[in-house]
Each structure stands twice: as C-alpha cells, then as structure tokens.
Amino acid sequence: MLEKEPSVCEEHNYNKLFRKFYEPATKYIYYKCGNFQQAEDIVQNVFIKLWKLCNTITYSKAKSYIYTACNNLFLNDVAHQKVKLKHQKTLTDTIDYESPDFIIEIDEFRKKLKAAINTLSVKEREVFLLSRVEKKTYKEIAEITGLTVKAIERRMSIALRELRDILGKDIKV
C-alpha cells in the first residue's frame, strides 16, 4: 500500500516546507546574484508560486521544484546583469605585504578573500560558497544545482585556482 503524501496545499505542510527550504534557497540565490534583497524576492515569489501550484506539486518533489524554480527565476531576472556580491565595496587596492613570514593582517586578508570570491563567475562562486560556507557535500550541491558531482569537482577546482591566483601574493609562506 502506498502511503499518502502530505498535501502542499495544507497550510502546516506548506509552512514546514517554507521553514525548511526558505533559508538555504535564499542563500543559494544570494551566492549567485550577490544581492540579498533580490534573493529574498526571488525565493518569496517561488514560494508564492508553490502555493498556487500546490495541487500539482507533491510534497517530496517540492524541494527540487523550489531550487529549480529559484534558479529559473534568477536566470530570468538577473542573469543578464553584471552580478556582484554586496561586499564588493570592501575591496581595497592590493597591497604587497612585505612581512616575511605569514599574513599579518588577517582582517585585511578576509576582506581580500571576499573580494576575490566576488570576482569568481557565478558558476564557480555558487559551488564554492555552498561547499565552504554552507558546508554542503558535493552530492547535496549537485541536487540543488542540477549538476553532476564531477562538474562540481571541476568548478571547485577552478574556483580554488582562481582564488590562489588572486590572493597568492598576499600569502607569504
């Protein structure tokens, strides 16, 4: 016997989905577009659509619907714009640290790291941040982005190489 799936149309089920996926989905879009307000708008619109389509989306399919719809809305909405993360403004001119051993100014370095992440392309940045900041496994990232694990390994590698190219001179070993 098949167990009947909870209906998305029931408010408590809908609330459950919202509480579970709103935050990660918003972060996901934020890592893509770099504009928190825009990210929230996109994800909220997706949840509005989810409510309107609650009859056609099963509870177990809701997760993939949310991420796919978020991604589509993001592509429609902002892909054509030059996207940059907000903290771009903290980017300072590259300073050549003369200090012999190590990084002295850890704060300065973190600012530079953020700035460097901002310069990554959307593809690499989303994967890098989902992995390093959200601590998601490649499998989870693959689910969210709809990519293969192999593709994620590749994008991760590119991201790290680019970051090192930018930041290498700030890290005196």
Binding site: N15, F18, R19, Y22, E23, T26, K27, Y30, Y31, F36, A39, E40, V43, Q44, F47, I48, W51, K52, I103, F109, R110, L113, K114, I117, F128, L129, S131, R132, V133, E134, K135, T137, Y138, K150, I152, E153, R154, R155, M156, S157, I158, L160, R161, L163, R164, L167, G168, I171, V173
Partner: protein, 305 residues
C-alpha cells in the same frame, strides 16, 4: 613533481572533499602552493552567509498571497460594483427626492406647480412633491392648511394624514390640523379616507360643500363664501371649540398659550385678523370672558378667567 592541481581539473575539488588518494595528498602537501590553498580553504570556511529571518519572510509571502493578483482582480471588481451601486443609489435618491415648501408661524406662501396649478400655503404648513417626473404622477403631500387651484389637466392627488383627495380641475381648501376640513369652492373632488379601501364609500364634494372629520366621523356641511377666510387675512369660526381657535392663533402668531383652568371645549363664533396680535387676542378672548397677560419679550400668553 607534476602540478596535479593544474593538470587535473578535478584535483582541487577532490582535495576539498577529502577524496584524494594517500599518495596524491602526500605529494600535494609537499608542494609550495599547498599552504596557500590551505589558507584559502580555511579562511573561506570561516565566512558567514547572510542572516535570514524565515518567519518574517513567511509572513510577507502570506500577505502577498492574500493581496496577490488573482484576489485583487476579484476585489477590484467588487470595488467597481460597490462604486456603481453607490452612484446608482445616490442618483436614484436624487431623482426620487422631494421638493418641500414649508411656511413658518404667521407666514404664507404661494406655490406654482409645474402644471400651472397654484397652491396657497397657510401658516405653519408644508407641501411636498417629487422633484422629478412629477407631471406623470401628480401627487402632493400636505400637512397644515392650503388652498388649491388645480388646472383641468389629468388627475391630481393630495395626500394628507387623514386620507387622499382626488381632484380634476377645481378649487378647494384643505385644513389638516387638529381639525380636518375640506371645502370645495369649484368643480368636484373626491376624498378617500386613509383607512378606507372601499371606493364606493368615498366622499364626493361639489361647489359649496365641505366635510369635517370629527373623531373619524365625517360630517357633511355646506358653506357660502367663495374663498377661504384665511386667504383674505382673517380666520373665521362658527361654533368652533376654543381649542381650535387657539391652535389657529398659534399657527399665525409666534405664541403659545398657558391655558390654566380655561375650558377650551367651549364654542366660539367670530373671527380674528392675521396682522395684529393684540387685536386678534382681544377679538377672540374678550367675548369668551377670558383675560390674558402677555409678559414682555415672552411668547407665552397666560390665560385666566
């Protein structure tokens, strides 16, 4: 030593996931760039994502759902219907509104209606009729007393508190105060008592006849004059209770009476003028053996024997 991280496009990705083989890792750890990658990796993991207030967002989404496009269209339709209804109702109210003429105490007014009929409104009376489309249904409502001179053109109805008077081109007087009296001066009129549904019991009045409604009993009488007294500026009474005379006085002069112990059922015959209060009081009260006091600046007339 091969630069694995450049040649192998998944190498660094696998390093992050901890999926490198022992040999691969050992070689990588000894490379000059390893330290840099390690610091980037370590520092990246210390970054924080944005703070997200899920509950507030949930409220926002629910608000948006309530005021969403679908419902707002329905709402807009309802607003439109409501506005249209108000317009129709207010237009309807205006079209069906009444025009009212009112005379104050001691005041008289002549009204000319749209069909050419003339109505003389006595003091303390009012007449109203529909503002629009009145000619299609000539009905007026009277309280108080008025003299009607109606043109011979279609039916004309006067509604009073005691009944309706149907008219076809005539002249008559209606007095609807404590006393109800209709006098026909010309032509023919028909009086339908308010509670009467049987038209065969209607009263028909012709020139020189009058009816008097006394405790819902109808008395038919005749009269001789060809115009109501009040139109000539006097009020005439023949064997009328004093109370009716006093009422008439209060309609024509801005006064009230303090009756005290006076018996107002006594009958009075005589008249008073409409343009001199002192004169009117003397001609009505002295013959009845009543003295009166008129305090200066007060509208109250105190009566005594």
């Amino acid at each position: 030593m091969a630069k694995n991280y450049i040649d192998d496009d998944t190498f660094l990705g696998r390093w992050i996931a901890g999926a490198l083989s022992k040999d691969e890792l050992k070689a990588f750890e000894q490379s000059e760039t390893f330290k840099q990658f390690e610091i980037i990796n370590r520092e990246s993991q210390l970054l924080a994502g944005p703070n997200i207030d899920t509950e507030t967002a949930l409220q926002i989404v629910k608000q948006k759902l309530q005021t969403g496009a679908k419902t707002s269209k329905v709402k807009q339709l309802w607003y439109a219907i409501a506005v249209a209804a108000v317009l129709i109702l207010s237009l309807g109210t205006f079209l069906t509104s009444n025009k009212t003429y009112t005379t104050a105490i001691g005041e008289k007014q002549t009204i000319r209606l749209a069909d050419g009929s003339v109505i003389n409104l006595n003091a303390n009376s009012s007449l109203s009729h529909k503002r629009f489309f009145w000619l299609h249904n000539k009905v007026v409502k009277l309280t108080g007393e008025a003299y009607f001179k109606i043109v011979k053109e279609g039916p004309f109805v006067v509604n009073t508190s005691k009944g309706a008077i149907n008219v076809l081109g005539t002249e008559f007087n209606i007095k609807d105060r404590t006393q109800f009296e209709i006098k026909c001066y010309e032509g023919k009129i028909r009086f339908t008592k308010l509670d009467n549904t049987d038209t065969t019991k209607d009263f028909t009045l012709t020139k020189g006849s009058q009816i008097l409604l006394d405790h819902s009993m109808i008395k038919e009488q005749t009269f001789k004059e060809d115009t109501p007294d009040w139109k000539t500026g006097i009020s005439k009474f023949t064997d009328q209770p004093l109370s009716i005379v006093l009422e008439e006085l209060t309609c024509l002069y801005p006064i009230t009476f303090d009756i005290n112990t006076i018996d107002t059922t006594r009958l009075f015959s005589g008249s008073f003028t409409h343009n001199n209060l002192e004169n009117a009081l003397q001609t009505t009260l002295i013959p009845m053996g009543i003295t009166y006091q008129k305090p200066e600046g007060s509208p109250i007339i105190i009566l005594s024997k």
